[in-house]
Structure formats: structure tokens, C-alpha cells
């Protein structure tokens, strides 16, 4: 019920390990914390129970789950029933590419220990459930720029110049 009527957008993205550990969750629909936990548990269970060689799509309530596994991590998006499933798979892939470009051969541990970076990169790419910037260059540049900004201009200027 509450999830319906927002055509075209991703409702939430979950990253979880093969052991069912949640590594990243991004919600583009406002839900109570309890509900989020319940949904997460349910979906992790559904996806982990699926065989390989199956399609990447599962009907779930009014929505459709589109998921793909990269090494030890599952990436799962919930989209509207009539949304573009294949392109959602490529949203996931583009995100993995962005992580990869930033971390260099990204692995599960990178996401665990630099979770905030994983969130920042996702935010540059997707906003409110819609793709914001599909150009890899632009998205990564935005992250790298912000890393530069770790130091204020003053600090930068005060650094010894060798």
C-alpha cells in the first residue's frame, strides 16, 4: 500500500553478504525503522534462497526486486512493477564501477570500513531514487573533489611546500 504510486523510482537499495549481513541500506521512501528491519529480513531471506541460473527479478508485494551478486555481496534494488528491470541491473553495475574506481578493486571490507564513502558515492549517483549523474567521470570527480576538501583552503596553503 504505502509503497505504491511513485512510478519510475527506486524505493530502496540493500547490500548484503552471502551470510545475510546487511552492509548498506538506502531508503528512498520514508518508513519506520521497525518496518525497514522487517522488510530487510524478508528480502535477504528471499534472495538468498534463490538458485543461481534464475532470473534477476522477483515479485515482492507490489514491487519488483532486481538483484545481482558481485563476489560475496548481493546488491538488491526494489523498483515499481512496471519499471525498467534491465536498466536497474545497470544502475547496480554502474555503482559497483564507481566504488571500484574509488577504492581500486573494491571488496566487501572496503564497504564495511569506509561505509560513509560508499554512501557518499551512492548519493552522487542516485538522489531520491532517481539516477542523477550517469557519467562515471562526473560522479567520481565529485567524490575526489570532496576528498580534496578534507582540508580547508587555509590548511592546504599552510602545508609545507617541500
Amino acid at each position: 500500500g504505502c509503497l505504491r504510486q511513485q512510478p519510475g523510482k527506486i524505493h530502496f537499495i540493500l547490500l548484503f553478504s552471502r551470510q545475510g549481513k546487511l552492509r548498506l541500506q538506502k531508503w528512498y521512501t520514508t518508513l519506520p525503522e521497525k518496518e525497514k528491519k522487517k522488510i530487510t529480513r524478508e528480502i535477504v531471506q528471499i534472495i538468498l534462497a534463490r538458485n543461481q541460473k534464475t532470473s534477476s527479478f522477483v515479485d515482492w508485494k507490489d514491487l519488483k526486486l532486481v538483484y545481482k551478486r558481485y563476489a560475496s555481496l548481493y546488491f538488491c534494488c526494489a523498483i515499481e512493477d512496471q519499471d525498467n528491470e534491465l536498466l536497474t541491473l545497470e544502475v547496480v553495475h554502474r555503482y559497483v564501477e564507481l566504488l571500484d574506481r574509488y577504492f581500486g578493486n573494491v571488496c566487501e571490507l572496503d564497504i564495511i570500513f569506509n561505509f560513509e564513502k560508499a554512501y557518499f558515492i551512492l548519493d552522487e549517483f542516485i538522489m531520491g531514487g532517481e539516477v542523477q549523474e550517469t557519467s562515471k567521470k562526473s560522479a567520481v570527480k565529485a567524490i575526489e573533489d570532496s576528498d580534496m576538501l578534507q582540508e580547508t583552503v587555509e590548511e592546504y596553503m599552510n602545508k609545507p611546500a617541500f
Partner: protein
């Protein structure tokens, strides 16, 4: 597992320690520097994301927002977007920080602020910023990256609170972002425009031609033209899909040039699907096919280019056999919508074998589900038998998760496309055999409805359930259907010694003890029906009803039924039994409740659309043009016997009479009781039109509570029903057995035309009850009634079953500049279907005694409203429709009458006795019929006459 528990315990211990540490840091005397604050806020966030509750640190996070260090600000915003709910008291502080960042003209800070607004996305956020963001979006000096964020941020707020995002000057400028040079800006803007256009199509109409030209430039570009927006050799797939989706908010473009250009684009996309891939990577084919599927969606949405539709169908046909499971899945899904287009329905049907094969061989339940959906969508009369057989076949091994849905679909298809109903009955019994647990009430109610409504299948149904019940272990739903059908139609197979009454009874009763209470209750009703159908096994059944396990059953419902049925079978005569336990009347045709259930299950949308379109294309076997009435299925277990169905109503006190308006029709008793000469030409209405004695001054927009006017028609068929200064309504009617015909004359008393003159006969409030009982057919009248003219309307009447409320005649028309609306009760009353019966005194009192059950008699004692004249009284009783029996009552002052009420489904014998008391100026009226409700209604009607 113990190890898991241990590690979980250890984790909690570790985290509690860490939380205590952070808390002490935050509460410590020493003010934390920005770096430490950021570090601890980040740790808290990490702990929260591990699934633990966090109840502090919010203030520290808010403090970080005003830091001028980017990373501190960034962590602050991240914490806020994940952890701050909308009604937090901190929201004012947060909004302040966001406001500052939006005004900072620093694109990175603005970006962070916009992301935070979108991430929280609450109504409070919309209240605070919905006015500001459109300005940022269309300002000339806004950086591209900020425009992108502003567009999507606004979209998020619009979704949360559309009322807070008013359309304005900015909307036309947003549309022109479709021409922006920066593809990232176009992508974000297209998302925003699509959502806005869905709710305000007029406002964003110009986006269609802009979207088409943008799309055209993309699909015809060389793969390198778009540089970084080319994804694995596919030019701007995200933008292409979004543009195609935007176009799905509109019908095909009207401008032929735009339309031609769009068709070219779609053809190009279809052509590209046939080209060899530019890369072997799955990303390439996914992106390419994503655009292709979206283009096909648009083609289906427009549903106007047969050539494109058939090409789309062929393309999907290729995908049905693709080695990629995802493509097979999507092809099945997409074809499902294609099946509903009349241009491509036949083309889709050619793939039936492939789809059936998918049902049998696909290893993924999601894919099989799509195959079921597609078979359902492509089903029509030509392939229904095959598709239903395959679905039944699949049901044997189907996943539990989709069984119920398949059952519903099979039930719908079997009914919809049944050429002969024996196939339908077989199919439903098969459903119960294969997947009895998933056969819902709607399904088995429906089969019973259909069998009751179609006498050509009743014998077959009885034979088939009888055979099916032979199985040693049969599903309880089969017992229900079997019990119900044999109770109604077991007599049709009782001639065969192999299914004699006793064998039928023993077969059913052998299942009794294994069944649940509701099923047992149903079986008890079957048994009492058997008492009527098969008097020869009455004692056997009485023995069963009398046994302790029934009469002393712990279940109240079962016990009551046993007691009542036993009593009924003991005291009631065969005639009464035959009436009480008569065959069920046909159910009114209406939308299948199964379909309603499937719609509910699947949500609105797909099922409805497909069904509606199909209904138009192939004439429905049911021909059920009835408006969809919900919850229409009566419960068979409740309806099997009419007993206790009608609430016991005490004879109502006669309505307070006010004779002032009433012109006593019986002053002219001769005309009141004169039998209607069929085909007599006397235009009774014209003399009445002239007399203006019956002018009603009441406002003409409410139901005329002119019960008096209504009541005078109970004993006569002709006269003026209604009159005011504008309009006079006259009636002339005749009734034969359960049929009748009424002529309604509408006289325009003015010299001005009535326009849009629309009389409608509508039912009283209890619609369901009404259509079950009374069938009325009218033809529309000429909408113009000239001044001084009279038009007539014929109502054909069929009494299906006894009824209480009279229908209502509603009349609407324009007179001069005013709209007139009035309603009057149409005097079609139960007594109109009387056939008088002459009988001797002896016969009368014998029957009178037979109808001695308290529920069969209704009595009313009332004061005389008119002079107590014996001759007038006799005329009224004859006018009421019953025979007036002379020399029957020992007291010559009394009046007795007898007659039979004819309905389509049954005949009801009625006896009446009227005892006047001249001294007291009172009457006592007694009605005895085999049906309580009938006694009640006739008594009400007749009491009003004296």
C-alpha cells in the same frame, strides 16, 4: 546455533562498551574538536547501521553541519539523513544549517544541503524549502551539478507533498531544460518532468516534441558522440529510457511531423536490436535491451501503429527462446500487455506452444509465473480448452506461492469461455481435486451459482459430484459442493439404482464426521432437503437428526439446525416442505466474484485493463452487463433454507393516516374494481388531465411521500398517480400471473416544452434484494414533451420472487430555465400477482388449519378509516386480487378471500379473513400464507384499504 549466539553476545558487549566511551567523550568537560566529533558521530552511525539503537549524538551531528570543513559537514549531513526523523525537535536547527548552505553559493555545500532535503524528504522539509528550490533550479547562474540535484530534490518533495509545490513560471523553464547541453541536467530534468506531467499533463504538453527531438538525436548519434554518456557502446541509455517513459504520459503526438519523427526513432531502436552486438559484455546487451523494452512499452501504450506492434511482438518472440533467463522473463511480461492490443492479440497467440513449454521447463518460479500470466492474457475462445488444460496440468506441481492465483485464473477462464457447461463443471471439480486447499469460497460458490442458473447442466453436475465423492479421501470443498448440489438436484440421478436416494445419503453421511463445523452445517441442510426430495428416506434422516451426536452437539449452530430440521420434518406437511425447501431461485447474473478477488490480489491495474479490453472484444458468455456489485456471493450455507433469513417483524402499526389530500377513489367503486378490458382504447387519462382537483403543491424534488396516492393503487390499476402544476402522471396496467405491463402517461400541463425529459424506474434502497425479486424493463421516451402533449412509456414487469418494496419512478426534465427532479413510488405491489381461487368452506378451513404455524400467520387490528360499507369492502377485496368467498365464514359479517401469488420461481397460497366490528369501528385482518414475509406484506397492504 550456539556459536552465532556467542558472537552476537560478544558483539553487543563490545558495542555497549564503545557506546559508553563515546557518551563519556560527548559529556566530558573538555570541548571536543571538530575532528573528534566527526570521528565519534561516524562511529555512532556505524553502530546504528549494524542494527543497534542509538539514542544520543544527534546534537553533536547537528553541530557538525555548521563546520566549514567539508568532511565534518558531510558526516553531519549523513547522520542527519539516516537517523533524524521528521518530527525531531532538532529540525529547526537543521533547517537553519541547510538554509545557510543553500545560500552559500558554494556548489558542494549546496549539493550537500539538497541531498539532505531529498534524503529526509519529510513534509516539514517541503514546507521549508519547496518554494526555494525551483528558483535555484531555473536560475541562470546555477552550476550544472546543482541543477541536477535541485531537479531531483524538487521531485522528491513533490512526491511527498504535491500540494506544497505549486506550479508557476518555473514550469515552462523546466521544460526547456530538455534542450540543455549538459546531458546530466537533461536526465535529472526528465525525471522531474515525467512525474509532474503525470499529474498536470496540460501544463507540460510542450515537453512531447522536445522529448522526441532529444530522443531522435540520441538514437541516431554515433556511439562516440555522447562521450561519457555512452554506456558500453549504447548512447545515453538512462536518458533514452526516461524520455520514452515521459512520452508514455501522453497519447501519440498530434503533429504529424513529430509523430513521424517518433515513429522513425522507434523503428531505429527495433532495427538496432537486429544488428550484431558491439560488445560481448552483458552490460552492452542489457543497456541496449533496456531501451528496446521501453520503446516496446511506448508502442503498446500508444496502441495505434499495427506495424510497430507486430514488429514488437516478433522481437519479443525471439526473446522467448533466448538463452538469457532475464530476457525470457521480460519477453513474457511484455507480451502480456501486448496480448491486450487488438492489433497484436493474434500475433501473440502464435507463441502459445513456446509459452506452454516455458511453464513446463523453466527452472525459475518468477519466469513460470510470467508464463501463467501470459497464457491467461492470450486466452480466448479459440484456445481456452488447451490453456485451461495446461494450467491444470501445471497446478499439480506448481509452487505453493502461486497456486491460489492459478486456481482463480483457471476458474475465471473456465467460466468465461465455457462452450458447454459440463466442461466447466469438470474443470472446477478438477481444481478442487488437485488443489482443494487453494480453492477459495468464491470459486465454489460460483460453481453452485452457475449450476443453479443453468438447468441444462444440473443433471450432469449431480452425476459428476456423486462420482467424485466416491473417492475414499476427497477434499472438504468437494463435500461442500457435492452436498449442495445433491441437495438441490440429487433427484435428477435418483432414478439410477446405483445412485438411489439412500446411496446418495449414505455417501454424503460417510464424510460427515471428517468435516469441519461449517461443512457439517451445510450437510444437515442437504439432509432436510433430501426429506423433501426423497420422502422414502425421511425416517433414516430423522434417525440421524435425532441421534445424540446431533441433538446434543456441543456446537450451537449444529445443534440448532438438527433440532429445527427434525421438528420441521416431523410437523410440516409435504406441501409446506415442498414450499420451504423448494429449489433455489436463479442467482442474478453479475460480475464474477472470483474476478473481483483476482483483481484484489493483483492490485488494480493489469488485470482490470486486460479484462475490460477483452470484454469489449469478445462478447462475454455470461453476457453480464450488470454493474459490478461487490460481495455479491450469498453464502450457500446460509441461503440453503429460507428459515430464519427474514427477521421476525411484528405487524407494523398502520401509518398515521391523513385523509386530507386523499381523494377517496372508492367513492367511485365501480371504476375501481372494473376488470381491465384488454386492448380497450378508452384514454382514461384525458378526462383526469382536465380536472385539477388533485393538484399537489409539494416541492417536486423529493420522493413523494404520498403513501395515500400510492395506496389507492393497491386495489386498482388505473388512475392518476401524481400531479403538480407542471406534470401529471397517469397509469394503466394489467397483470397476468407473474407478468404484468404498465403504461405510464406523462402529461405536460404547461404550454412550454419539457426538454431532456428522462423518466427512470429505479429500485428501492435494497438493490440486491430487488433485482432478485422483480424484473422491470422500460424503453426510453422521447426527451422532448411539447406543451399540452402527452407521452407514454411501457414497463414490462416480471415477478421473479416475492418482494416488499415498490420500485421508484424518477423523472428529470428541464422546464424553462429550471431543472426539475421528482420521484414517486410506482405502485407495483405483491398483490398484483394474485390469482383468485374459489373454494368450498370445508377446503378453506382445512387449509386454514394447515397454515397454523405462528410464522405463517400475520394479524392486524386497526381502526376504520373509511365508512364501514360491506359492498365497498367486497369490491376492495376483489380489487386486491383474491377471490371473495361467499358463505364460507360462519359469521356472515366476516369476509374471507383466497388466492395464489404467482412468481417466476414459486407459487404461494394465501388465505385472508377480515372481521369488522361496527360498534368499535375496528377491523381485524388475518393473513395466512406459507411464507411469513408474504403474509406480512399482504397484511400491510390490505390494512391500508379500509
Amino acid at each position: 546455533n550456539e556459536e552465532g549466539c556467542k558472537s552476537k553476545e560478544a558483539e553487543i558487549k563490545r558495542i555497549n562498551k564503545e557506546l559508553a566511551n563515546i557518551r563519556s567523550k560527548f559529556k566530558g568537560d573538555k570541548a571536543l574538536d571538530g575532528y573528534s566529533k566527526k570521528k565519534y558521530v561516524c562511529k555512532l552511525l556505524f553502530i546504528f547501521l549494524l542494527g543497534h539503537d542509538i539514542d544520543f549524538g544527534h546534537m553533536e551531528a547537528v553541530n557538525l553541519l555548521s563546520s566549514n570543513r567539508y568532511t565534518e559537514k558531510q558526516i553531519g549531513y549523513l547522520f542527519i539523513s539516516v537517523l533524524v526523523n521528521s518530527n525531531s525537535e532538532l529540525i529547526r536547527l537543521i533547517n537553519n544549517a541547510i538554509k545557510n548552505d543553500l545560500a552559500s553559493r558554494n556548489p558542494t555545500f549546496m549539493g550537500l544541503a539538497l541531498h539532505c532535503i531529498a534524503n529526509v524528504g519529510s513534509r516539514e522539509m517541503a514546507e521549508a524549502f519547496a518554494g526555494e528550490i525551483p528558483k535555484i533550479l531555473v536560475a541562470g547562474d546555477t552550476m550544472d551539478s546543482v541543477k541536477q540535484s535541485a531537479a531531483l530534490c524538487l521531485l522528491r518533495l513533490y512526491r511527498t507533498s504535491p500540494d506544497l509545490v505549486p506550479m508557476g513560471d518555473w514550469t515552462s523553464r523546466v521544460v526547456h531544460l530538455l534542450n540543455d547541453q549538459h546531458l546530466g541536467v537533461v536526465t535529472a530534468a526528465t525525471s522531474l518532468i515525467t512525474t509532474l506531467a503525470q499529474k498536470n499533463p496540460e501544463e507540460f504538453k510542450t515537453s512531447v516534441s522536445l522529448a522526441v527531438s532529444r530522443l531522435s538525436r540520441i538514437v541516431t548519434s554515433a556511439s562516440t558522440d555522447l562521450q561519457d554518456y555512452t554506456y558500453y557502446f549504447v548512447p545515453a541509455p538512462w536518458l533514452s529510457v526516461k524520455l520514452l517513459r515521459l512520452l508514455q504520459c501522453y497519447p501519440p503526438p498530434e503533429d504529424p511531423a513529430v509523430r513521424g519523427r517518433l515513429t522513425e526513432c522507434l523503428e531505429t531502436i527495433l532495427n538496432k536490436a537486429q544488428e550484431p552486438p558491439k560488445s560481448k559484455k552483458v552490460q552492452h546487451s542489457n543497456a541496449k535491451n533496456a531501451v528496446l523494452f521501453e520503446a516496446i512499452s511506448l508502442i503498446i501504450h500508444h496502441d495505434s501503429e499495427p506495424n510497430l506492434l507486430v514488429r514488437a511482438c516478433n522481437q519479443l518472440g525471439q526473446f522467448l527462446q533466448h538463452r538469457e533467463t532475464n530476457l525470457r522473463y521480460l519477453a513474457l511480461e511484455s507480451m502480456c500487455t501486448l496480448a491486450s492490443s487488438e492489433f497484436s492479440h493474434e500475433a501473440v497467440k502464435t507463441h502459445i506452444e513456446t509459452v506452454i513449454n516455458a511453464l513446463k521447463t523453466e527452472r525459475d518460479v518468477s519466469v513460470r509465473q510470467r508464463a501463467v500470466d501470459l497464457l491467461y492474457a492470450m486466452c480466448d475462445r479459440s484456445n481456452a480448452q488447451q490453456i485451461v488444460a495446461e494450467m491444470l496440468n501445471y497446478l499439480e506441481t506448481a509452487d505453493y506461492s502461486i497456486r491460489e492465483e492459478i486456481v482463480l485464473k483457471v476458474a475465471i477462464l473456465a467460466e468465461k469461455y465455457a462452450v458447454d457447461y459440463t466442461w466447466y463443471v469438470d474443470t472446477i471439480l478438477n481444481l478442487i481435486r488437485i488443489a482443494g486447499d487453494y480453492v477459495s469460497e468464491e470459486v465454489w460458490y460460483r460453481v453452485i451459482q452457475i449450476v443453479i442458473n443453468r438447468d441444462d447442466v444440473q443433471g450432469y453436475a449431480a452425476k459428476t459430484v456423486f462420482e467424485a465423492l466416491q473417492a475414499p479421501a476427497c477434499h472438504e470443498n468437494l463435500v461442500k459442493v457435492g452436498g449442495y448440489i445433491l441437495g438441490e438436484f440429487g433427484n435428477l440421478i435418483a432414478g439410477d439404482p446405483r445412485s438411489s436416494p439412500l446411496i446418495q445419503f449414505n455417501l454424503l453421511h460417510s464424510k460427515f464426521h471428517l468435516c469441519s463445523v461449517p461443512t457439517r452445517a451445510l450437510l444437515l441442510s442437504t439432509y432436510i432437503k433430501f426429506v423433501n426430495l426423497f420422502p422414502e428416506i425421511k425416517t433414516t434422516i430423522q434417525d440421524v437428526l435425532r441421534s445424540d451426536s446431533q441433538l446434543k452437539n456441543a456446537d450451537v449452530e449444529l445443534q440448532q439446525r438438527a433440532v429445527e430440521y427434525l421438528r420441521l420434518s416431523t410437523i410440516a406437511s409435504t406441501d409446506i416442505l415442498a414450499t420451504v425447501l423448494e429449489e433455489m431461485p436463479p442467482f442474478p447474473e453479475r460480475e464474477s466474484s472470483i474476478l473481483a478477488k483476482l483483481k484484489k490480489k493483483k492490485g488494480p491495474g493489469t488485470v482490470t485493463d486486460l479484462e475490460e479490453i477483452k470484454k469489449e472484444r469478445s462478447s462475454d458468455m455470461n453476457g453480464s452487463a450488470e454493474p459490478a456489485s461487490v460481495n455479491s456471493t450469498p453464502s450457500p450455507s446460509a441461503d440453503l433454507l429460507g428459515l430464519g433469513a427474514a427477521p421476525l417483524t411484528n405487524s407494523a402499526p398502520p401509518p398515521a393516516s391523513s385523509g386530507s389530500l386523499l381523494v377517496d377513489v372508492f367513492s367511485d367503486s365501480a371504476s375501481a374494481v372494473a376488470p381491465l378490458a384488454p386492448g380497450s382504447d378508452d384514454n382514461f387519462a384525458s378526462p383526469d388531465l382536465a380536472s385539477s382537483e388533485v393538484v399537489s403543491e409539494e416541492p417536486a424534488d423529493t420522493v413523494h411521500d404520498a403513501d395515500e396516492l400510492f395506496h389507492k393503487f393497491v386495489c386498482k390499476n388505473n388512475g392518476v398517480l401524481f400531479e403538480n402544476q407542471l406534470l401529471q402522471i397517469g397509469l394503466k396496467s394489467e397483470f397476468r400471473q407473474n407478468l404484468g405491463r404498465m403504461f405510464i402517461f406523462y402529461g405536460n400541463k404547461t404550454s412550454t416544452q419539457f426538454l431532456n425529459f428522462t423518466p427512470t424506474v429505479i429500485c428501492s434502497d435494497d438493490f440486491l434484494n430487488y433485482i432478485l425479486c422483480l424484473n422491470l424493463q422500460t424503453k426510453p421516451v422521447d426527451p422532448t414533451v411539447d406543451g399540452g402533449a402527452q407521452v407514454q412509456q411501457v414497463v414490462n414487469i416480471e415477478c421473479v420472487s416475492d418482494f416488499m418494496e415498490a420500485p421508484i419512478l424518477n423523472i428529470q426534465f428541464r422546464y424553462g430555465g429550471t431543472f426539475q427532479n421528482l420521484s414517486v413510488k410506482l405502485p407495483i405491489t405483491l398483490n398484483k400477482f394474485f390469482q383468485p381461487t374459489e373454494m368450498s368452506s370445508q377446503d378453506f378451513f382445512q387449509r386454514w388449519k394447515q397454515l397454523s404455524n405462528p410464522k405463517q400467520e400475520v394479524q392486524n387490528i386497526f381502526k376504520a378509516k373509511h365508512p364501514m360499507d360491506a359492498e365497498i369492502t367486497k369490491a376492495k377485496i376483489i380489487g386486491f386480487g383474491s377471490a371473495l368467498l361467499e358463505e364460507v365464514d360462519p359469521n356472515p359479517a366476516n369476509f374471507v378471500g383466497a388466492g395464489i401469488i404467482h412468481t417466476k420461481t414459486t407459487q404461494i397460497g394465501c388465505l385472508l379473513r377480515l372481521e369488522p366490528n361496527l360498534q368499535a369501528q375496528m377491523y381485524r385482518l388475518t393473513l395466512r400464507t406459507s411464507k411469513e414475509a408474504v403474509s406480512q406484506r399482504l397484511c400491510e397492504l390490505l390494512s391500508e384499504q379500509f
